[in-house]
Symmetry: C2
Subunit: 232 residues, 2 copies
């Protein structure tokens, strides 16, 4: 008798868990785009709103944790579902970090209000778009439990790394030529690094999806070569 409602509620909870992680992902994607838009327009008000909104992502992560602990009690004997439940837990943690990186970009906006005519800045919106795309793709692989798509996502992070590397070089050249703009340029270096790291976290999500779907770790080879920008 008791197991029937249990199973029904577990199915419901698992769907809810996916929905919560998807909601976190949507908020993180929006935060990335908004943070770079706030930077581009030197919009400190919207930047402050982004910092505040990150609390919602943190609250959703806590909610995911509560549900995971409850779900495990109902699914402990089903390894495949357990792997997915734990993947949800870890992915929620990674998405929470993505939100922090977006928040960090937003926090630098007030420090950059005076920064004008920094040409490398022009690359940031395209880099932010590429970053949101990989975040979106990574969360889609979780929703679809698609291990092959996860491998493609992990490999596509190289695009964000390429943006980062050219922005890094452009900013260093700019700093040498404009020592008076070094503080602003240093903040832009970190902003670029934050986007690069968000892309790397999207790769981590893809790896977690791969493990949840296959029970195997995604190999270094599958994942692509280890570069200075990866994961660090």
């Amino acid at each position: 008798m008791a197991t029937v409602p249990n199973i029904r509620s577990a199915d419901f909870d698992l769907a809810e868990l996916r929905r919560l992680v998807a909601e976190m992902g949507g908020l993180a994607e929006a935060a990335i785009d908004d943070a770079v838009a706030a930077l581009t327009h030197r919009d400190t008000e919207s930047a402050a709103a982004i910092v505040k909104a990150d609390q919602r992502i943190d609250a959703l992560e806590a909610e995911v944790e509560r549900r995971v602990v409850r779900l495990i009690g109902l699914r402990a004997d089903q390894p495949d579902e357990l792997r997915e439940i734990l993947a949800a837990l870890k992915i929620a943690g990674v998405v929470e970090r993505m939100g922090d990186y977006a928040k960090n970009i937003a926090k630098r906006v007030p420090l950059l209000v005076e920064a004008r005519g920094i040409e490398p800045l022009a690359i940031l919106p395209a880099m932010a778009r590429a970053t949101s795309e990989i975040v979106h793709a990574a969360l889609d692989t979780f929703a679809a439990r698609d291990a092959e798509a996860a491998v493609r996502v992990a490999q596509s992070d190289a695009r964000v790394d390429d943006f980062y590397n050219s922005l890094f070089r452009a900013l260093l050249t700019y700093m040498m030529e404009n020592p008076h703009n070094i503080t602003a340029s240093a903040h832009l270096l970190f902003i670029a690094k934050n986007l690069e790291r968000i892309g790397d976290h999207a790769t981590n999500v893809a790896e977690m999806v791969y493990f949840a779907a296959t029970g195997e770790q995604m190999g270094e080879r599958t994942r692509g070569i280890d570069t200075l920008t990866d994961g660090n």
Copy 2:
């Protein structure tokens, strides 16, 4: 009959899980110290060894995941132990990231072999010591399941942030005065940021220990104020 060996093996597994996480932590601490030592001595060989050794941390994380899935089957009905098991899973993930940051510092050593006379570098070893200390303290709170100590650790991260902030300012001033050393200085900025982020991850570990021990999230207030350097 069957439950007796189950419980015994679960106790053994839980102890093993703690041991594995402690081993990961020890490797991460060593990697941090070694990476900064390699940097200080421009020792590219030891830097390469640190990069290679990070694979061991990654392998331990995968092992922790395998055991967690197995343990959950035995402890699903014991919420307190489940929380600790899941904390172990998440802490393993965080320590794996710490290892990546140390690896990233090591990867920058070859790029800094030529860098000479960058005074701000002198702050790094002390900052690295402070960082390893908080990492060690955070992992101790997990081993001891000590929620109060976890709160103290979360608050002590401010020390690493202070090091970071003074190093950040010192490096920017140095860059303005020595535009020819801007590339090296930028790498040092990221190295300082990596140490700062390791300290932040130690705070995350303390928060996870707190949640595992109390079932409550460590509050913003408990944790200390949100600064530009925290968590990002």
